[in-house]
């Protein structure tokens, strides 16, 4: 009867208090489990924890029962019930009990307290034992057997098997043989045992592959977890290698290796199609049971089935209670000749399957480098893994050392290069200026728009009015004034009436410079036009209607003018005049004086006739004739720009060539 909560381990005895029951028995029951655990822990002679694992589970119940039975205060009916329960066993059933045990094992994680701690301790002991077995397996103990007669794979198996006198023998409970030869009980311990056997067998198989080149692939031989639904092929293949590597094959196994008739193999085949989890243990149990029944008593079965460590005792203990009543039918069934033949076929099949698997593993081993034959496969590393391992080793080695922090890669700012370019440009220009004046050749051809503009200005009469719109910044004033000033001078000389407008505040002081260069009187009115051409749109559309008394600008009506000369460094502003004003006044011609940079954008307007002409650049005006202009410095500047461009292309090509060579060398 459970007196503790399975989830939290708290005592529930108070809930099951029976009137008249003494408290001493409860206290004894409460203290039984911890005491038992302590005894197990402190027992130095205890090698395997299997005994203690089962004993704590059984002892508390037994002690509790005893305490209860000994109680004189219990009612008679209760006493009878409990006695009957002890005699008849659990009413849940054999199958359900195994399931419940499995569920209890799965919920082990949730249970805290004594049970969890105990199980963890058990697991530690099991792992330690497993590690010892692995070490022992790698040591390749020398056998006294004749190697000519015993195959190497068998030698490896026996190497994993500890000496009988060193290990504690435990009674092995054989599984009951039913019609389908499948056990009906699977406890948690049995499943863990199965898992450990599979892992041990995997290691054995790996070592066996190195020696005999007969190891089958790992995927085929990995034992399937009890919870995993294995494929049919893997299931069919499992019994072979597992049985092949079964470590409890006696030394004189050759006596058992007899040809098996085909009919005898059917039961074994049917067994293969059964549960995957049950197969390895089933095979073990079958083999163990059959050997025991044929030649040796149960003590021999114990020796053959014993695992290195405590696995077999665990299996034994877990099945002790349930297997005991079934041993008799197991042995009786096994004694039948038909079933004798089926187990006998197992060793034969083992050997038969081992041979083809050895052959299958041969080409795999041939693919491996020669050095791998001396190294267990689990120690073989890929190059990538080796690199990572070496990196980890270096990191661990450098741990704790004081190292300089990783410095951020500083990209070159380029200041030095820019400074060099600036110096080159300055030196070239200064030298070209210092050499002497260099006017532009007078016979330099002008562009067609410039020629058209000069023709247009030449056709202007004395009474014609020309509106000059100044729309440029101080930065481009030198270039534009150099282009516009001679033209204005020429127009003034022709007697044309000039009116000046500026659309920018800076145009007021810039106009003074232009007027001075053009030789015009300084008191010439230069009117500021706020909003540029927007102020003139409605006037351009219908000046008669737009005439009001409150005008921002005195000059409104553009119709009297013959030509509008736009002096601007912005092609957008010029386009605005051409698109917003020009369509409303068909008799008004528009010309432009602009920088060489804006000239390409204005060329379509000249081509379409919206501009009668425009002057852009030093070649279109009379700049070349001016003394202040140095044609040589202009050419030096262009040459330097050309050289820099070519240098950039060459350096890039060289850089690509160097990189390609480095890549080839790598």
């Amino acid at each position: 009867m459970a007196t503790r909560c399975v989830h939290c381990g708290s005592d529930l005895e108070a809930l099951f208090t029976i009137f008249g029951q003494s408290q001493s028995s409860d206290e004894e029951a409460e203290e039984s489990l911890p005491d038992i655990i302590e005894e197990i822990r402190n027992d130095p002679s205890l090698q395997t924890p299997v005994e203690e694992q089962s004993s704590p589970e059984l002892a508390p119940a037994d002690q509790i029962d005893e305490s209860i039975l000994n109680s004189e205060q219990l009612p008679d009916w209760l006493t009878k019930v409990r006695e009957r329960a002890q005699e008849e066993g659990d009413a849940i059933g054999d199958l359900a009990s195994g399931t419940i045990a499995m569920d209890a094992a799965r919920s082990e994680e949730a249970s805290a307290g004594v049970e969890g701690e105990f199980n963890a301790w058990i697991n530690r002991i099991r792992e330690k034992s497993q590690q010892e077995n692995n070490v022992r397996a790698r040591q390749l103990p020398s056998e006294n057997e004749d190697t000519d007669q015993v195959p190497e794979w068998l030698q490896r198996i026996r190497a994993l098997r500890p000496r009988p006198e060193e290990e504690i023998t435990h009674e092995v409970k054989t599984a009951p043989t039913y019609a389908d030869d499948l056990p009906r009980e699977w406890t948690d311990e049995a499943l863990d045992e199965l898992r450990r056997q599979a892992l041990a067998e995997d290691q054995e198989q790996e070592t066996e592959a190195l020696l005999s080149a007969g190891v089958p692939t790992e995927g085929e031989e990995l034992p399937v977890e009890p919870e995993i639904e294995g494929a049919g092929e893997s299931v069919q293949e499992e019994p072979g290698p597992i049985e092949e590597d079964f470590h409890n094959i006696p030394d004189d196994e050759e006596a058992y290796l007899e040809p098996v008739p085909g009919e005898d193999q059917e039961p074994f085949t049917e067994a293969e199609e059964g549960s995957v989890a049950e197969k390895p243990v089933e095979a073990e149990l079958e083999t163990g049971a059959i050997e025991a029944s044929e030649e040796e008593p149960e003590s021999r079965v114990e020796e053959d089935l014993e695992q290195p460590g405590q696995d077999v005792p665990e299996l034994e203990d877990s099945q002790s209670e349930e297997a005991v009543p079934e041993e008799a039918p197991v042995e009786s069934e096994v004694s039948e000749p038909a079933e004798k033949g089926a187990p006998e076929s197992v060793p034969a099949e083992l050997e038969d399957e081992a041979v083809p698997k050895e052959l299958e593993a041969e080409p795999e081993e041939e693919e491996q480098p020669p050095d791998s034959a001396a190294v267990p496969p689990d120690l073989l590393l890929l190059r990538d893994q080796q690199d990572r391992a070496s990196l980890l080793a270096s990191l661990i080695e450098q741990e704790g050392r004081v190292t300089a922090g990783k410095q951020a890669f500083r990209k070159p700012s380029g200041r030095a290069g820019r400074l060099a370019v600036a110096l080159l440009l300055l030196i070239g220009l200064i030298v070209s200026l210092l050499i002497g004046p260099s006017p532009m050749p007078t016979d330099a051809p002008k562009s067609m728009p410039a020629l058209a503009l000069s023709d247009q200005t030449r056709t202007l009469a004395e009474s014609d009015q020309v509106l000059v719109v100044l729309d440029y910044q101080a930065a481009t004033s030198r270039e534009l004034e150099a282009l516009a000033a001679p033209m204005l001078e020429q127009l003034h000389a022709q007697g044309v009436q000039l009116s000046f407008l500026t659309t920018q505040p800076s145009g007021l002081f810039l106009a003074q410079s232009l007027l001075k260069q053009a030789g015009l009187p300084e008191d010439t009115l230069v009117e500021f036009l706020p909003g540029s051409y927007l102020s003139l749109i409605n006037w351009a559309m219908d000046p008669a209607i737009s005439a009001t008394g409150d005008d921002l600008v005195r000059l409104k009506n553009l119709h009297p003018f013959r030509l509008v000369l736009l002096v601007s460094d912005s092609s957008d502003h010029i386009r605005g005049w051409l698109e917003q004003i020009a369509p409303w006044i068909e008799s008004l011609n528009f010309a432009a004086v602009t920088t060489q940079m804006e000239a390409p954008v204005l060329s379509p307007y000249f081509d379409s006739g919206q501009l009668v002409g425009y002057a852009a650049g030093i070649a279109d005006g009379n700049i070349g004739a001016q003394s202040t202009f140095s044609y040589r410095a202009y050419r030096v500047g262009l040459l330097l720009m050309l050289v820099m461009l070519l240098l950039g292309m060459i350096s890039k090509g060289e850089e690509d060539a160097i990189r390609k060579e480095e890549e080839r060398s790598e």
Partner: protein
């Protein structure tokens, strides 16, 4: 959700100007008023921008931020120019000479730096961008027009060469036409977006 008032104002303004352009006798007066409003609002916006600039730099000076000396120079220059303009008048020759003597060399020097920056960019463009169609076409066209700009080929006075040069110099017009067409289409789409209230700037 867009605010409705700016959207409505933008749509109405566009429709009025468009209608005035089509119905000239009836709409020219309204168009003049609307355009006058635009000019006045643009002027006020300029004043607001100037005030904001001065206030920002005054804050920098008050807080002693890094570079507050530059802000101090800016504020002093602004105040001095404002005082002179108010006292002498914007048409006064002295005032104009004073302003021109400062602004002209500064802006001319800045334009000269542009030439220097373009020269260094011409050297680094291939290292930065690599060999691509854009960079290669730029490099080749720049080399051709720089050589033409030197005037050496024109001075040879070879008629066939002059024809070739004239053809090459006309090539930028082809690109300019495409550029202007694109600008026109873009402006048209922008106008439609404003008229139909799809322009996001109407939220402000």
């Amino acid at each position: 959700m867009k605010r409705p008032l700016p959207l409505i104002v933008g749509i109405l303004s566009g429709l009025i100007v468009l209608a005035a352009m089509f119905f000239v006798p009836q709409g020219s007066g309204i168009l003049g008023v609307v355009l006058s409003w635009v000019i006045i609002v643009a002027g006020v916006a300029l004043l607001v921008a100037i005030a904001s600039l001065v206030l920002t730099h005054l804050r920098f000076i008050a807080k002693g931020k890094k570079g507050f000396l530059l802000s101090l120079v800016l504020v002093i220059s602004f105040l001095a120019t404002l005082a002179l303009g108010l006292l002498l008048g914007v048409d006064h020759s002295t005032f104009l000479g004073f302003v021109g003597a400062i602004i002209r060399p500064i802006e001319t020097a800045l334009l000269g730096l542009v030439a220097l920056i373009m020269m260094s960019a011409a050297m680094k463009i291939f290292r930065e961008r690599g060999w691509s169609a854009l960079t290669v076409s730029f490099g080749v066209s720049a080399i051709i027009f720089l050589i033409l700009g030197l005037g050496f080929l024109q001075n040879l006075n070879i008629p066939a060469l002059n024809e070739v040069i004239r053809f090459v110099e006309a090539l930028p017009m082809i690109g300019a036409r495409g550029l202007l067409i694109g600008i026109g289409i873009g402006l048209l789409m922008m106008a439609f977006r404003v008229l139909f209230g799809m322009e996001g700037s109407g939220n402000d």
